[in-house]
Amino acid sequence: MSIDYVFFDFRDEHFSALYRAWLISHKLSANRNGKLQLSTYKAQQLDYIIKSPRAFKRACHFLSGAISSQNIPDTLYNIDGIFSKQFAKKDFLTKLLQLCRMGILELVKEDTQTLVKCLIPPPPSSTEFQSHLESQILSIKGLVTKSEPVVDQLILGA
């Protein structure tokens, strides 16, 4: 095996990470009226929140109150702080670019920001883990309209 699976973070595995970025883009890039609303940075923020159970818990608590976050199980991940690193930002951007190259997404420049547009929908949810990811994404949908610094604060746990 070429990978040391003991220390391998499966959340950043190539295909699963691409799939997550695709699904986020598909579910959240446009509002009900079809207007693009998801910036590349916001997409990265949301991806991080979904990956990190603690941040996700905080987000749920922020959006829907304590009760909604009660049943989210604790995990042993400790990745708070990694987010601030510059390469992570670029890392996510490369994922979006790879999806663009495959013709799945398109990055649309609008005013000062670059918005994500999903061209091809991902395969429909047929498994439990797909639906789980989908429901996670939908549960933090409210963050799309929040400003990026607000979401940053949420991620940092401040």
């Binding site: 095996m1 070429s2 990978i3 699976y5 391998f8 499966f10 959340r11 950043d12 595995e13 190539h14 295909f15 699963s16 990470a17 691409l18 799939y19 997550r20 695709w22 590349t40 159970p53 199980p73 604790d74 995990t75 042993l76 991940y77 390469f87 670029k90 890392d91 951007l93 490369t94 994922k95 670019l97 790879q98 190259r101 495959m102 990055l107 420049k109 670059t114 991902p122 395969p123 498994t127 883990f129 797909q130 789980h132 990811l133």
Partner: protein, 645 residues
């Protein structure tokens, strides 16, 4: 109310620094025998000292180094008294307890002086003894011839001279102070009183009668005052009531003692049980704590397992997403970098893909881990279940034990403590009651002493009345009494074994003669010995036969003086010296027989270094009481009076 005086010594006790020495006596013949210098005579002199005599003869080293006080338990007209005198201090008070030696602590003693000029709260010892013997304290003229002769009051010491034949007096030509005419005449006067010869003394007797009556009146008055006082302060005038109450208090104290003892042992038992119970409870609590922390640990482990499981779950989700996404993203660019249209730079593609050939194995591995965790969580939960069951059963046990402990405490220990407290309080109360009763009893006894004095005084008065009656009616003449004394003495001297007994007479000075030679004029020491003992025995026999003013009591120190004790083979057995010696004892025994026949108590105490065959071979019942036998170099007997000197 003709009562004869009686004096019986019961016990002599020497109280010393390191111990006590005692000698017991009985009525009848008492013998003290032993080697020379062993303290035999000391016993007689100590008796004499307690009865008011001098301590001159008893103050020698062995005694003074060991003895502090001398006690004499004596019966005077049937009533028991204990006289206490310090050995050295002749002038100190003689303490008189109206009880036996053992119970002297229960009574207040009377303090008396041994000497007529001494000042003590309860007067002169001699007066007390005479009073108790029922003998009137008459005045004795010191000279029979001079009309203006001084008169002196009769003292018990005067009577003692007639009852104690000292070693130096046996056979002495100075017997009864013959060499000092004034004292000799007084002794004669005393003997006249003893034999109730009251020639020209009627007036004196009547004066005495009046005086005694006056004293009686005073005594009665003080008795009624005392009785009134005692009634007012609530002290019962009945000794039996005291006895019962004291017995009741003592038995109450005894009962309370055993009750508290039992309560205390119950308490000890209960508190021991309680302690054990408490130890059990605390052990159980410790167990409970340990269970609780085990449960906590197990819960924490489950929590950790759950976290790990969620983490693996996320990993598995991602692996499965990766598997799912692969066909749709199969044409992912394989380049190492990708051009960024936004920043116009080449971005490095950092993400790693699980190789196709690994993905199933990785998925299985994670699934296995999750399954393993599930198993661990299950085991831990089961462990928690078990622990929780144990926890609640321990909790239940604690509850039960605590209930028992509380119940035990409530039902036994607390009431026990209060019972013990109550019992102890009652005991203190009973002790207070007892000591107050004892105090009251002592006060009461003081009161009853007054009653006794009244009774003695009544005896004295009645005896005086008798004497006065006799004198008035001229019933008992001097000649009759002298004749009776002569008769007794004649019988004695005839039986004594002395040869040529004839022409026996008794002078009006109470001096016997035979062969027409008076006692004082006989040359033979042996004859004087026999006669002197005869004079004392005559008096004793007379006292047993007639009413007179002396108790039937006699102490003789070494009666065998001047009489040869060694038998010669050619001796005539009936007239030899040893036979005379034996006869002295046989005559002493006849006097004891006479007392027994007339139903009277008499006491003869003889000290001797020899021992007559008649006592050693006395058939049947023992005829004498051996008070002491001192013998040096024989461990069976004490070596002397102070046996550890």
């Amino acid at each position: 109310m003709d009562s004869k005086p009686s004096l019986i010594i019961s016990e002599l006790i020497l109280m010393g620094v390191t111990g006590t020495y005692n000698a017991s006596f009985r009525s009848g013949l008492n013998i003290i025998r032993g080697s020379m210098d062993s303290g035999k005579s000391t016993i007689l002199h100590m008796i004499n000292y307690c009865l008011g005599g001098s301590n001159k003869k008893i103050l020698y080293d062995e005694v003074t180094s060991k003895v502090r006080s001398i006690f004499l338990e004596v019966k005077l007209n049937g009533r028991t008294f204990t006289l206490e005198r310090p050995l050295r201090e002749q002038n100190s008070a003689v303490k008189v307890y109206s009880s036996d030696f053992a119970n002297r602590g229960e009574v207040f003693p009377q303090f008396m002086s041994a000497d007529p000029s001494g000042k003590m709260p309860d007067g002169w010892l001699s007066d007390f003894i005479l009073e108790q013997l029922g003998i009137a304290r008459v005045k004795i003229k010191e000279s029979a011839n001079r009309v203006d002769a001084d008169e002196d009051r009769l003292s018990f010491r005067d009577l003692m001279k007639l009852m104690f034949l000292k070693q130096t007096d046996v056979g002495s030509d100075a017997l009864l102070d013959f060499k000092s005419q004034a004292v000799f005449h007084k002794n004669v006067a005393v003997q006249k009183f003893v034999y109730n010869i009251h020639d020209e003394r009627l007036a004196g007797l009547q004066t005495q009668r009046k005086l005694e009556n006056e004293i009686l009146k005073q005594l009665k008055q003080s008795e009624s005052t005392l009785a009134k006082f005692l009634t007012e302060v609530g002290i019962p005038l009945d000794e039996f009531a005291f006895g019962d109450k004291i017995d009741a208090a003592k038995s109450q104290i005894h009962e309370l003692d055993s009750a508290t003892q039992k309560l205390k042992s119950d308490f000890e038992f209960n508190s021991k049980a309680a302690l054990e119970l408490r130890a059990t409870i605390s052990a159980l609590r410790g167990e409970l704590d340990s269970k609780s922390s085990q449960i906590k640990v197990a819960k924490k482990r489950i929590e950790d397992f759950a976290k790990l499981k969620s983490t693996y779950r996320i990993e598995l989700d991602n692996i499965q997403l990766s598997k799912l996404a692969r066909p749709f993203l199969a044409n992912t660019p394989q380049d190492k970098t990708i051009a960024c249209p936004l920043c116009s730079t080449e971005l490095e593609i950092a993400s790693q893909a699980i190789p196709e050939e690994d993905i199933n194995a990785v998925e299985r591995s994670v699934k296995n881990k999750i399954a393993g965790l599930d198993q661990s969580i299950k085991i831990s939960m089961e462990r928690i279940d078990v622990l929780q069951v144990e926890f609640s059963s321990t909790e239940k046990l604690i509850q039960q034990h605590t209930q028992i402990f509380d119940a035990n405490n409530l039902s036994s220990i607390s009431p026990l403590i209060s019972l013990i407290e109550t019992a102890e309080k009652a005991k203190v109360q009973a002790h207070i009651e007892l000591s107050s009763l004892k105090k009251n009893l002592s006060i009461f006894r003081k009161y009853s002493e007054t009653q006794d004095k009244i009774n003695s005084k009544l005896t004295v008065i009645s005896n005086l009345d008798q004497v006065i009656r006799n004198v008035e009616s001229g019933l008992t003449g001097v000649d009759d009494i002298i004749a009776e004394l002569r008769k007794i003495f004649a019988a004695y001297i005839t039986l004594s074994g002395v040869q040529n007994v004839h022409s026996i007479s008794y002078s009006k000075q109470f001096v016997p003669s035979f062969r027409n030679i008076s006692y004082y004029d006989h040359l033979s020491g042996g004859v004087r010995t026999v006669m002197s003992i005869g004079m004392y025995m005559t008096r004793l026999a007379y006292a047993l036969k007639h009413v007179c003013n002396i108790p039937p009591f006699l102490m003789i120190d070494t009666p065998g003086q001047n009489i040869g004790r060694k038998k010669n083979p050619d001796d005539d057995n009936t007239v030899s010296d040893p036979a005379i010696y034996e006869t002295i004892y046989s005559q002493l025994l006849s006097i004891v027989d006479l007392a027994n026949e007339t139903g009277q108590e008499c006491q003869i105490i003889v000290v001797d270094n020899d021992f007559p065959d008649i006592l050693a071979t006395a058939p049947g019942e023992k005829k004498y009481h051996l008070v002491k036998r001192f013998q040096k170099n024989n461990p069976t007997y004490e070596k002397g009076l102070i046996h550890d000197a």
